[in-house]
Protein backbone atom coordinates (compact mmCIF):
# COMPACT_ATOMS: atom_id res chain seq x y z
CA UNK A 1 0.00 0.00 0.00
CA UNK A 2 2.29 2.76 1.19
CA UNK A 3 4.86 1.08 -0.95
CA UNK A 4 3.07 1.96 -4.14
CA UNK A 5 2.96 5.59 -3.06
CA UNK A 6 6.56 5.96 -4.03
CA UNK A 7 6.39 4.35 -7.44
CA UNK A 8 7.84 1.01 -6.55
CA UNK A 9 5.88 -0.66 -9.32
CA UNK A 10 7.58 -1.84 -12.47
CA UNK A 11 9.08 0.76 -14.79
CA UNK A 12 6.39 2.50 -16.84
CA UNK A 13 5.74 0.98 -20.20
CA UNK A 14 6.73 3.31 -23.00
CA UNK A 15 3.81 3.52 -25.34
CA UNK A 16 3.79 4.81 -28.87
CA UNK A 17 0.13 5.82 -28.63
CA UNK A 18 -0.14 9.62 -28.80
CA UNK A 19 -1.65 11.41 -25.82
CA UNK A 20 -5.32 12.29 -26.05
CA UNK A 21 -6.36 15.87 -26.57
CA UNK A 22 -9.61 17.72 -26.03
CA UNK A 23 -11.52 19.54 -23.34
CA UNK A 24 -12.47 16.43 -21.33
CA UNK A 25 -9.14 16.59 -19.53
CA UNK A 26 -10.40 19.62 -17.62
CA UNK A 27 -13.41 17.66 -16.38
CA UNK A 28 -10.87 15.29 -14.81
CA UNK A 29 -8.48 17.96 -13.56
CA UNK A 30 -10.65 20.85 -12.41
CA UNK A 31 -12.35 19.35 -9.34
CA UNK A 32 -8.99 18.42 -7.81
CA UNK A 33 -7.33 21.67 -8.87
CA UNK A 34 -10.16 23.78 -7.47
CA UNK A 35 -9.96 21.80 -4.24
CA UNK A 36 -6.23 22.40 -3.92
CA UNK A 37 -6.72 26.05 -4.80
CA UNK A 38 -9.36 26.50 -2.13
CA UNK A 39 -7.84 24.48 0.68
CA UNK A 40 -4.11 24.74 -0.04
CA UNK A 41 -3.38 27.98 -1.93
CA UNK A 42 -6.02 30.21 -0.32
CA UNK A 43 -4.89 29.21 3.22
CA UNK A 44 -1.30 30.10 2.30
CA UNK A 45 -2.46 33.53 1.09
CA UNK A 46 -4.56 33.90 4.24
CA UNK A 47 -1.45 32.97 6.24
CA UNK A 48 0.53 35.78 4.59
CA UNK A 49 -2.26 38.28 5.25
CA UNK A 50 -2.57 37.21 8.88
CA UNK A 51 1.20 37.46 9.35
CA UNK A 52 1.11 41.23 8.75
CA UNK A 53 -1.99 41.91 10.86
CA UNK A 54 -1.76 44.23 13.79
CA UNK A 55 -3.37 44.01 17.25
CA UNK A 56 -6.98 45.15 17.42
CA UNK A 57 -7.59 48.72 18.58
CA UNK A 58 -9.43 47.33 21.62
CA UNK A 59 -6.26 45.46 22.61
CA UNK A 60 -8.22 42.26 23.36
CA UNK A 61 -6.19 39.05 23.28
CA UNK A 62 -6.62 37.08 20.07
CA UNK A 63 -8.20 40.00 18.18
CA UNK A 64 -6.34 41.42 15.21
CA UNK A 65 -7.17 43.77 12.40
CA UNK A 66 -5.80 44.15 8.93
CA UNK A 67 -2.71 46.28 8.61
CA UNK A 68 0.71 46.09 7.13
CA UNK A 69 2.63 45.42 10.28
CA UNK A 70 5.92 43.56 9.84
CA UNK A 71 6.67 43.48 13.56
CA UNK A 72 5.57 39.82 13.83
CA UNK A 73 8.34 38.89 11.40
CA UNK A 74 10.84 40.90 13.39
CA UNK A 75 9.62 39.20 16.58
CA UNK A 76 9.85 35.63 15.29
CA UNK A 77 13.16 35.99 13.47
CA UNK A 78 14.83 37.55 16.52
CA UNK A 79 13.11 35.77 19.41
CA UNK A 80 12.75 32.34 17.78
CA UNK A 81 16.21 32.25 16.24
CA UNK A 82 17.30 29.29 18.43
CA UNK A 83 14.20 27.34 17.36
CA UNK A 84 14.83 28.17 13.70
CA UNK A 85 18.45 27.05 14.02
CA UNK A 86 17.44 23.83 15.80
CA UNK A 87 14.75 22.96 13.26
CA UNK A 88 17.11 23.16 10.32
CA UNK A 89 20.07 21.73 12.26
CA UNK A 90 18.13 18.72 13.56
CA UNK A 91 16.54 18.21 10.14
CA UNK A 92 19.96 18.26 8.47
CA UNK A 93 21.49 15.79 10.93
CA UNK A 94 18.48 13.47 10.86
CA UNK A 95 18.44 13.50 7.04
CA UNK A 96 22.16 12.63 6.85
CA UNK A 97 21.76 9.78 9.38
CA UNK A 98 18.65 8.50 7.61
CA UNK A 99 20.52 8.48 4.29
CA UNK A 100 23.52 6.64 5.75
CA UNK A 101 21.33 4.03 7.43
CA UNK A 102 18.95 3.65 4.47
CA UNK A 103 21.28 3.37 1.51
CA UNK A 104 22.89 0.00 2.34
CA UNK A 105 19.52 -1.31 3.46
CA UNK A 106 17.80 -0.20 0.24
CA UNK A 107 20.75 -1.58 -1.75
CA UNK A 108 20.43 -4.99 -0.18
CA UNK A 109 16.66 -5.16 -0.66
CA UNK A 110 16.61 -3.56 -4.12
CA UNK A 111 19.66 -5.26 -5.65
CA UNK A 112 20.71 -8.35 -3.70
CA UNK A 113 17.21 -9.66 -3.09
CA UNK A 114 16.13 -9.26 -6.72
CA UNK A 115 16.39 -12.97 -7.40
CA UNK A 116 13.86 -13.70 -4.65
CA UNK A 117 10.82 -11.50 -5.36
CA UNK A 118 8.67 -12.70 -2.47
CA UNK A 119 11.41 -12.27 0.15
CA UNK A 120 12.19 -8.89 -1.38
CA UNK A 121 8.60 -7.72 -1.02
CA UNK A 122 8.26 -9.08 2.51
CA UNK A 123 11.49 -7.37 3.59
CA UNK A 124 10.27 -4.13 2.07
CA UNK A 125 7.10 -4.50 4.13
CA UNK A 126 9.25 -4.73 7.27
CA UNK A 127 11.07 -1.57 6.19
CA UNK A 128 7.82 0.38 5.99
CA UNK A 129 6.28 -1.36 9.02
CA UNK A 130 6.80 1.72 11.26
CA UNK A 131 4.26 3.52 9.04
CA UNK A 132 1.55 1.13 10.16
CA UNK A 133 1.85 1.73 13.89
CA UNK A 134 0.76 5.01 15.43
CA UNK A 135 3.38 7.75 14.98
CA UNK A 136 2.81 9.05 18.51
CA UNK A 137 2.93 5.62 20.15
CA UNK A 138 6.15 4.57 18.46
CA UNK A 139 7.69 7.83 19.68
CA UNK A 140 6.42 7.12 23.19
CA UNK A 141 7.97 3.64 22.92
CA UNK A 142 11.40 5.24 22.38
CA UNK A 143 10.70 7.62 25.25
CA UNK A 144 10.12 4.72 27.61
CA UNK A 145 13.08 2.75 26.24
CA UNK A 146 15.36 5.74 26.93
CA UNK A 147 13.69 6.81 30.21
CA UNK A 148 16.27 7.77 32.86
CA UNK A 149 15.40 4.77 35.06
CA UNK A 150 14.93 2.27 32.23
CA UNK A 151 16.79 -1.04 31.85
CA UNK A 152 18.27 0.20 28.56
CA UNK A 153 19.81 3.30 30.14
CA UNK A 154 21.22 1.26 33.05
CA UNK A 155 22.81 -1.07 30.53
CA UNK A 156 24.25 1.80 28.48
CA UNK A 157 25.65 3.50 31.61
CA UNK A 158 27.37 0.27 32.68
CA UNK A 159 28.63 -0.55 29.22
CA UNK A 160 30.34 2.80 28.71
CA UNK A 161 31.17 3.39 32.42
CA UNK A 162 29.08 6.53 32.45
CA UNK A 163 28.08 8.56 35.45
CA UNK A 164 24.77 7.60 37.09
CA UNK A 165 23.42 11.04 36.23
CA UNK A 166 23.97 10.46 32.51
CA UNK A 167 20.71 10.79 30.65
CA UNK A 168 19.62 10.82 27.03
CA UNK A 169 15.94 11.72 27.09
CA UNK A 170 15.31 15.43 26.62
CA UNK A 171 18.63 15.99 24.84
CA UNK A 172 19.06 17.03 21.19
CA UNK A 173 20.46 13.53 20.57
CA UNK A 174 17.18 11.93 21.64
CA UNK A 175 15.16 14.30 19.43
CA UNK A 176 17.36 13.56 16.40
CA UNK A 177 17.13 9.83 17.20
CA UNK A 178 13.33 10.05 17.14
CA UNK A 179 13.29 12.13 13.97
CA UNK A 180 15.55 9.66 12.15
CA UNK A 181 13.39 6.75 13.22
CA UNK A 182 10.05 8.36 12.41
CA UNK A 183 10.99 9.60 8.95
CA UNK A 184 13.38 6.86 7.75
CA UNK A 185 10.82 5.03 5.56
CA UNK A 186 10.45 8.27 3.54
CA UNK A 187 14.16 7.91 2.75
CA UNK A 188 14.34 4.16 2.22
CA UNK A 189 11.40 3.90 -0.21
CA UNK A 190 12.61 6.33 -2.92
CA UNK A 191 16.14 4.88 -2.59
CA UNK A 192 14.72 1.39 -3.01
CA UNK A 193 12.78 2.49 -6.11
CA UNK A 194 15.96 3.82 -7.74
CA UNK A 195 18.10 0.83 -6.75
CA UNK A 196 15.48 -1.68 -7.80
CA UNK A 197 15.55 -0.25 -11.34
CA UNK A 198 19.34 -0.06 -11.51
CA UNK A 199 20.70 -1.95 -14.51
CA UNK A 200 23.27 -4.33 -13.03
CA UNK A 201 24.95 -4.89 -16.39
CA UNK A 202 26.34 -1.36 -16.10
CA UNK A 203 28.05 -2.29 -12.83
CA UNK A 204 29.47 -5.43 -14.43
CA UNK A 205 30.73 -3.42 -17.38
CA UNK A 206 32.51 -0.99 -15.06
CA UNK A 207 34.07 -3.92 -13.21
CA UNK A 208 35.20 -5.49 -16.50
CA UNK A 209 36.91 -2.21 -17.31
CA UNK A 210 38.96 -2.57 -14.11
CA UNK A 211 37.04 -0.11 -11.96
CA UNK A 212 37.55 -0.85 -8.28
CA UNK A 213 34.38 -1.64 -6.26
CA UNK A 214 34.69 1.82 -4.68
CA UNK A 215 34.82 3.62 -8.01
CA UNK A 216 32.01 1.47 -9.41
CA UNK A 217 29.94 2.80 -6.52
CA UNK A 218 30.94 6.48 -6.80
CA UNK A 219 31.01 6.65 -10.61
CA UNK A 220 28.13 4.35 -11.59
CA UNK A 221 25.80 3.24 -8.79
CA UNK A 222 25.51 6.54 -6.92
CA UNK A 223 25.02 8.81 -9.98
CA UNK A 224 22.37 6.45 -11.38
CA UNK A 225 20.47 6.41 -8.09
CA UNK A 226 20.68 10.18 -7.52
CA UNK A 227 16.94 10.69 -8.26
CA UNK A 228 16.20 8.41 -5.29
CA UNK A 229 18.70 10.23 -3.10
CA UNK A 230 17.17 13.59 -4.00
CA UNK A 231 13.54 12.69 -3.47
CA UNK A 232 14.45 10.73 -0.32
CA UNK A 233 16.36 13.61 1.25
CA UNK A 234 13.60 16.10 0.38
CA UNK A 235 10.81 13.83 1.65
CA UNK A 236 12.74 13.44 4.92
CA UNK A 237 14.13 16.94 5.40
CA UNK A 238 10.96 18.94 4.70
CA UNK A 239 8.54 17.24 7.11
CA UNK A 240 11.22 17.15 9.83
CA UNK A 241 11.70 20.94 9.77
CA UNK A 242 8.02 21.32 10.66
CA UNK A 243 7.76 18.47 13.16
CA UNK A 244 7.28 19.31 16.79
CA UNK A 245 6.09 16.06 18.31
CA UNK A 246 9.55 14.52 18.77
CA UNK A 247 10.91 17.75 20.27
CA UNK A 248 8.00 18.17 22.72
CA UNK A 249 8.57 17.77 26.43
CA UNK A 250 5.96 14.98 26.63
CA UNK A 251 7.85 13.00 23.99
CA UNK A 252 11.64 12.96 23.43
CA UNK A 253 12.58 16.59 23.99
CA UNK A 254 12.69 19.25 26.67
CA UNK A 255 12.22 23.02 26.77
CA UNK A 256 15.80 23.25 25.43
CA UNK A 257 15.00 21.34 22.23
CA UNK A 258 11.90 23.22 21.02
CA UNK A 259 11.64 23.64 17.25
CA UNK A 260 9.75 25.99 14.92
CA UNK A 261 6.61 23.81 15.11
CA UNK A 262 6.51 24.09 18.91
CA UNK A 263 6.45 27.89 18.59
CA UNK A 264 3.76 27.90 15.91
CA UNK A 265 1.61 25.56 17.96
CA UNK A 266 2.06 27.56 21.17
CA UNK A 267 1.38 30.89 19.45
CA UNK A 268 -1.60 29.65 17.49
CA UNK A 269 -3.35 27.31 19.91
CA UNK A 270 -2.32 28.60 23.34
CA UNK A 271 -1.44 32.30 23.01
CA UNK A 272 -3.93 33.13 20.21
CA UNK A 273 -1.07 35.13 18.68
CA UNK A 274 -2.12 34.38 15.11
CA UNK A 275 0.16 36.94 13.41
CA UNK A 276 3.28 35.46 15.05
CA UNK A 277 2.24 31.87 14.29
CA UNK A 278 1.58 32.88 10.68
CA UNK A 279 4.82 34.83 10.32
CA UNK A 280 6.80 31.88 11.72
CA UNK A 281 5.04 29.50 9.28
CA UNK A 282 5.70 31.87 6.38
CA UNK A 283 9.39 32.08 7.27
CA UNK A 284 9.61 28.27 7.48
CA UNK A 285 7.86 27.86 4.14
CA UNK A 286 10.03 30.53 2.53
CA UNK A 287 13.29 28.95 3.68
CA UNK A 288 12.12 25.50 2.54
CA UNK A 289 11.16 26.76 -0.91
CA UNK A 290 14.55 28.45 -1.19
CA UNK A 291 16.42 25.30 -0.15
CA UNK A 292 14.37 23.05 -2.45
CA UNK A 293 14.89 25.37 -5.42
CA UNK A 294 18.65 25.58 -4.94
CA UNK A 295 18.93 21.86 -4.23
CA UNK A 296 16.89 20.80 -7.25
CA UNK A 297 18.75 23.24 -9.55
CA UNK A 298 22.12 21.99 -8.32
CA UNK A 299 21.29 18.33 -8.69
CA UNK A 300 19.40 18.84 -11.93
CA UNK A 301 16.26 16.85 -11.27
CA UNK A 302 13.25 19.00 -11.93
CA UNK A 303 10.68 16.27 -12.44
CA UNK A 304 9.96 15.25 -8.89
CA UNK A 305 6.43 14.08 -9.24
Amino acid sequence: MAIAGFNTSAAPKQSSTPLKTGKFVWVLLLPGLLYLGMFFMVPLVSLLITSVETPDASGAIGMYQYGFDLSSYQHVVIDYLPQIGRSFGYAFLATVFALLISYPLAYFVGVKLRTRPLIQKLTLTLVVAPFFISFLLRTIAWKQIFADDSVTMGFIRNLFHLDQTFHFLGTPGAVVWGLVYNFIPFMTLPLYTSLERLDLRLLEAAGDLYASPASVFTKVTLPLTMPGVISGTLLTFIPITGDYVNASRDFLGSSDTSMIGNMVQADFLQNSDYPSASAMSAVLMGVILLIVTIYVRRTGTEDLL
Binding site: L19, G22, L28, K121, V127, Q265, F268, S281
Partner: protein
Protein backbone atom coordinates in the same frame (compact mmCIF):
# COMPACT_ATOMS: atom_id res chain seq x y z
CA UNK B 1 36.93 -11.55 -3.45
CA UNK B 2 36.49 -8.72 -0.98
CA UNK B 3 33.49 -7.53 -2.91
CA UNK B 4 31.99 -10.99 -2.74
CA UNK B 5 32.36 -11.13 1.05
CA UNK B 6 30.80 -7.70 1.40
CA UNK B 7 27.78 -8.81 -0.57
CA UNK B 8 27.48 -12.20 1.03
CA UNK B 9 28.03 -11.38 4.66
CA UNK B 10 28.26 -7.75 5.69
CA UNK B 11 25.16 -6.48 3.89
CA UNK B 12 22.78 -9.21 5.11
CA UNK B 13 23.96 -8.78 8.69
CA UNK B 14 23.63 -5.02 8.36
CA UNK B 15 20.11 -5.42 6.97
CA UNK B 16 19.09 -7.62 9.89
CA UNK B 17 20.43 -5.05 12.38
CA UNK B 18 18.62 -2.22 10.56
CA UNK B 19 15.37 -4.19 10.54
CA UNK B 20 15.69 -4.93 14.27
CA UNK B 21 16.14 -1.18 14.86
CA UNK B 22 13.02 -0.47 12.80
CA UNK B 23 10.96 -3.08 14.62
CA UNK B 24 11.98 -2.38 18.26
CA UNK B 25 9.36 0.33 19.00
CA UNK B 26 6.70 -1.72 17.22
CA UNK B 27 7.48 -4.80 19.30
CA UNK B 28 7.53 -2.60 22.41
CA UNK B 29 4.14 -1.09 21.62
CA UNK B 30 2.57 -4.49 20.94
CA UNK B 31 4.15 -6.07 24.05
CA UNK B 32 2.81 -3.31 26.28
CA UNK B 33 -0.71 -3.87 24.95
CA UNK B 34 -0.55 -7.08 27.02
CA UNK B 35 0.77 -5.31 30.11
CA UNK B 36 -1.30 -5.80 33.27
CA UNK B 37 -0.99 -2.10 34.10
CA UNK B 38 -3.19 -0.39 36.64
CA UNK B 39 -4.81 2.93 35.84
CA UNK B 40 -3.47 5.16 33.11
CA UNK B 41 0.26 4.66 33.32
CA UNK B 42 1.73 1.92 31.19
CA UNK B 43 5.46 2.41 31.63
CA UNK B 44 6.56 -0.56 33.77
CA UNK B 45 5.98 -4.23 32.99
CA UNK B 46 3.44 -5.63 35.48
CA UNK B 47 2.79 -9.04 33.98
CA UNK B 48 0.91 -10.52 31.04
CA UNK B 49 -2.81 -10.09 30.57
CA UNK B 50 -5.36 -10.27 27.78
CA UNK B 51 -7.70 -7.94 29.71
CA UNK B 52 -6.92 -4.82 27.70
CA UNK B 53 -7.58 -6.62 24.42
CA UNK B 54 -10.85 -8.09 25.65
CA UNK B 55 -12.13 -4.91 27.30
CA UNK B 56 -10.69 -2.25 25.06
CA UNK B 57 -13.74 -0.03 25.29
CA UNK B 58 -13.83 0.09 29.09
CA UNK B 59 -12.47 3.57 28.66
CA UNK B 60 -15.22 4.84 26.42
CA UNK B 61 -13.21 7.88 25.41
CA UNK B 62 -10.67 5.79 23.48
CA UNK B 63 -13.31 4.04 21.42
CA UNK B 64 -15.06 7.37 20.78
CA UNK B 65 -11.75 8.74 19.49
CA UNK B 66 -11.24 5.70 17.24
CA UNK B 67 -14.80 6.13 15.95
CA UNK B 68 -14.11 9.77 15.07
CA UNK B 69 -10.87 8.77 13.36
CA UNK B 70 -12.59 6.07 11.30
CA UNK B 71 -15.33 8.47 10.21
CA UNK B 72 -12.86 11.22 9.25
CA UNK B 73 -10.46 8.86 7.44
CA UNK B 74 -13.28 7.07 5.63
CA UNK B 75 -14.91 10.21 4.23
CA UNK B 76 -11.57 11.91 3.42
CA UNK B 77 -10.26 8.81 1.66
CA UNK B 78 -13.40 8.46 -0.45
CA UNK B 79 -13.27 12.05 -1.69
CA UNK B 80 -9.48 12.17 -2.12
CA UNK B 81 -9.50 8.90 -4.08
CA UNK B 82 -12.17 10.05 -6.53
CA UNK B 83 -10.54 13.46 -7.13
CA UNK B 84 -7.03 11.98 -7.24
CA UNK B 85 -7.83 9.13 -9.64
CA UNK B 86 -9.34 11.56 -12.16
CA UNK B 87 -6.25 13.77 -11.95
CA UNK B 88 -3.88 10.80 -12.32
CA UNK B 89 -5.63 9.62 -15.51
CA UNK B 90 -5.55 13.16 -16.93
CA UNK B 91 -1.83 13.54 -16.17
CA UNK B 92 -0.77 10.32 -17.88
CA UNK B 93 -3.19 10.06 -20.78
CA UNK B 94 -3.87 13.61 -21.93
CA UNK B 95 -1.79 16.32 -23.47
CA UNK B 96 -2.73 19.76 -22.18
CA UNK B 97 -1.26 23.14 -21.52
CA UNK B 98 -0.20 24.12 -18.01
CA UNK B 99 0.98 20.59 -17.23
CA UNK B 100 3.91 21.83 -15.20
CA UNK B 101 1.61 24.14 -13.24
CA UNK B 102 -0.68 21.20 -12.41
CA UNK B 103 2.32 19.08 -11.38
CA UNK B 104 3.60 21.90 -9.19
CA UNK B 105 0.26 22.36 -7.46
CA UNK B 106 0.28 18.63 -6.66
CA UNK B 107 3.91 18.62 -5.52
CA UNK B 108 3.64 21.65 -3.23
CA UNK B 109 1.31 20.09 -0.63
CA UNK B 110 3.80 17.22 -0.29
CA UNK B 111 6.65 19.72 0.10
CA UNK B 112 4.92 21.76 2.78
CA UNK B 113 5.48 20.98 6.45
CA UNK B 114 2.29 19.92 8.17
CA UNK B 115 2.49 22.72 10.68
CA UNK B 116 2.31 25.31 7.86
CA UNK B 117 -0.72 23.63 6.23
CA UNK B 118 -2.34 23.17 9.64
CA UNK B 119 -1.87 26.77 10.73
CA UNK B 120 -2.77 28.16 7.29
CA UNK B 121 -6.04 26.28 7.02
CA UNK B 122 -7.00 26.80 10.66
CA UNK B 123 -6.27 30.52 10.23
CA UNK B 124 -8.52 30.61 7.17
CA UNK B 125 -11.38 28.93 9.05
CA UNK B 126 -10.81 31.37 11.92
CA UNK B 127 -10.86 34.40 9.60
CA UNK B 128 -14.01 33.12 7.90
CA UNK B 129 -15.59 32.49 11.29
CA UNK B 130 -16.76 28.98 10.36
CA UNK B 131 -15.88 27.40 13.67
CA UNK B 132 -14.19 24.00 13.90
CA UNK B 133 -15.51 20.46 13.81
CA UNK B 134 -15.65 17.25 11.79
CA UNK B 135 -16.12 19.20 8.56
CA UNK B 136 -12.98 21.34 8.96
CA UNK B 137 -10.88 18.28 9.86
CA UNK B 138 -12.22 16.29 6.88
CA UNK B 139 -11.63 19.21 4.47
CA UNK B 140 -8.03 19.40 5.71
CA UNK B 141 -7.46 15.65 5.40
CA UNK B 142 -8.75 15.49 1.80
CA UNK B 143 -6.29 18.26 0.94
CA UNK B 144 -3.14 16.51 2.18
CA UNK B 145 -4.21 13.02 0.99
CA UNK B 146 -4.99 14.13 -2.57
CA UNK B 147 -1.40 14.40 -3.87
CA UNK B 148 -0.47 10.99 -2.47
CA UNK B 149 -3.44 9.38 -4.21
CA UNK B 150 -2.43 11.02 -7.50
CA UNK B 151 1.17 9.77 -7.23
CA UNK B 152 0.05 6.23 -6.41
CA UNK B 153 -2.63 5.91 -9.08
CA UNK B 154 -0.41 7.62 -11.67
CA UNK B 155 2.16 4.83 -11.31
CA UNK B 156 -0.55 2.32 -12.14
CA UNK B 157 -1.91 4.28 -15.13
CA UNK B 158 1.63 4.40 -16.54
CA UNK B 159 1.88 0.60 -16.58
CA UNK B 160 -1.46 0.27 -18.36
CA UNK B 161 -1.17 -0.50 -22.09
CA UNK B 162 -3.48 1.86 -24.10
CA UNK B 163 -3.72 -0.88 -26.76
CA UNK B 164 -6.23 -2.70 -24.53
CA UNK B 165 -8.55 0.29 -24.54
CA UNK B 166 -8.12 0.77 -28.29
CA UNK B 167 -9.03 -2.85 -28.84
CA UNK B 168 -12.20 -2.30 -26.81
CA UNK B 169 -13.08 0.76 -28.88
CA UNK B 170 -12.40 -1.15 -32.11
CA UNK B 171 -14.92 -3.74 -30.96
CA UNK B 172 -17.57 -0.99 -30.78
CA UNK B 173 -17.52 -0.34 -27.04
CA UNK B 174 -18.62 3.20 -26.18
CA UNK B 175 -16.06 5.37 -24.30
CA UNK B 176 -18.13 4.84 -21.16
CA UNK B 177 -18.03 1.06 -21.59
CA UNK B 178 -14.29 1.15 -22.33
CA UNK B 179 -13.72 3.02 -19.08
CA UNK B 180 -15.88 0.89 -16.80
CA UNK B 181 -15.11 -2.51 -18.35
CA UNK B 182 -11.44 -2.12 -19.27
CA UNK B 183 -9.71 0.91 -17.76
CA UNK B 184 -11.29 0.89 -14.32
CA UNK B 185 -10.83 -2.83 -13.51
CA UNK B 186 -7.19 -2.63 -14.62
CA UNK B 187 -6.61 0.50 -12.53
CA UNK B 188 -8.35 -0.92 -9.47
CA UNK B 189 -5.21 -2.26 -7.74
CA UNK B 190 -3.63 1.20 -8.02
CA UNK B 191 -6.79 2.91 -6.83
CA UNK B 192 -7.00 0.55 -3.85
CA UNK B 193 -3.32 1.23 -3.00
CA UNK B 194 -3.96 4.96 -3.21
CA UNK B 195 -7.04 4.69 -1.02
CA UNK B 196 -5.22 2.57 1.59
CA UNK B 197 -2.30 5.01 1.67
CA UNK B 198 -4.72 7.90 2.02
CA UNK B 199 -6.56 6.12 4.83
CA UNK B 200 -3.31 5.34 6.65
CA UNK B 201 -2.08 8.95 6.36
CA UNK B 202 -5.40 10.35 7.51
CA UNK B 203 -5.85 7.88 10.38
CA UNK B 204 -2.39 8.62 11.78
CA UNK B 205 -2.36 12.37 11.21
CA UNK B 206 -1.87 14.46 14.29
CA UNK B 207 -0.51 17.94 13.51
CA UNK B 208 -3.01 19.14 10.88
CA UNK B 209 -5.88 17.56 12.81
CA UNK B 210 -4.86 19.25 16.05
CA UNK B 211 -4.90 22.70 14.42
CA UNK B 212 -8.21 22.22 12.64
CA UNK B 213 -10.28 20.44 15.28
CA UNK B 214 -10.51 23.40 17.63
CA UNK B 215 -11.04 20.95 20.50
CA UNK B 216 -14.43 20.00 19.03
CA UNK B 217 -13.28 16.63 17.70
CA UNK B 218 -10.86 14.17 19.31
CA UNK B 219 -9.26 11.67 16.96
CA UNK B 220 -7.19 8.69 18.10
CA UNK B 221 -3.79 10.43 17.62
CA UNK B 222 -5.13 13.50 19.46
CA UNK B 223 -6.26 11.26 22.31
CA UNK B 224 -2.71 9.89 22.63
CA UNK B 225 -1.14 13.35 22.42
CA UNK B 226 -3.38 14.73 25.14
CA UNK B 227 -2.88 11.62 27.29
CA UNK B 228 0.91 11.70 26.83
CA UNK B 229 1.50 14.14 29.67
CA UNK B 230 -0.47 12.01 32.16
CA UNK B 231 0.36 8.57 30.78
CA UNK B 232 -1.10 6.70 27.83
CA UNK B 233 -3.26 3.74 28.93
CA UNK B 234 -2.56 0.24 27.56
CA UNK B 235 -5.86 0.30 25.66
CA UNK B 236 -4.26 2.77 23.23
CA UNK B 237 -1.54 0.18 22.56
CA UNK B 238 -4.26 -2.39 21.88
CA UNK B 239 -5.87 -0.18 19.21
CA UNK B 240 -2.53 0.69 17.58
CA UNK B 241 -1.41 -2.96 17.63
CA UNK B 242 -4.68 -4.13 16.12
CA UNK B 243 -4.44 -1.53 13.33
CA UNK B 244 -0.82 -2.52 12.73
CA UNK B 245 -1.52 -6.26 12.56
CA UNK B 246 -4.49 -5.70 10.25
CA UNK B 247 -2.45 -3.52 7.88
CA UNK B 248 0.44 -6.00 7.80
CA UNK B 249 -1.99 -8.84 7.19
CA UNK B 250 -3.54 -7.01 4.22
CA UNK B 251 -0.15 -6.12 2.70
CA UNK B 252 1.49 -9.51 3.21
CA UNK B 253 -1.65 -11.32 2.03
CA UNK B 254 -1.70 -9.25 -1.17
CA UNK B 255 1.99 -9.90 -1.76
CA UNK B 256 1.73 -13.67 -1.30
CA UNK B 257 -1.40 -13.70 -3.45
CA UNK B 258 0.24 -11.84 -6.34
CA UNK B 259 3.32 -14.04 -6.00
CA UNK B 260 1.23 -17.19 -6.34
CA UNK B 261 -0.63 -15.73 -9.32
CA UNK B 262 2.67 -14.90 -11.00
CA UNK B 263 3.95 -18.42 -10.42
CA UNK B 264 0.80 -19.85 -11.95
CA UNK B 265 1.18 -17.63 -15.04
CA UNK B 266 4.80 -18.75 -15.33
CA UNK B 267 3.73 -22.38 -15.06
CA UNK B 268 1.19 -21.95 -17.87
CA UNK B 269 3.79 -20.32 -20.08
Amino acid sequence: MRNLRLGRFVLPVYTVIALVYLLVPIAYTIAFSFNDSKGRTNTLWQGFTLDKWLNVCVRGDICDAVGSSLLISGVSTLVATVLGTAMAIALVRYSFKARSLVSLSLFLPMATPEVVMGAGLAGLFFNLGTGYGYLTVILAHIMFCLSFVVVTVKARVQTLDPVLEEAGADLYASPREVFWRITFPLLLPGIVSGALLSFALSFDDFIITYFNSGGAVTTFPMYIYIAASKGVPAEANVIASAVFLLAILIVVGTQIGSNLRQKRIMAIK
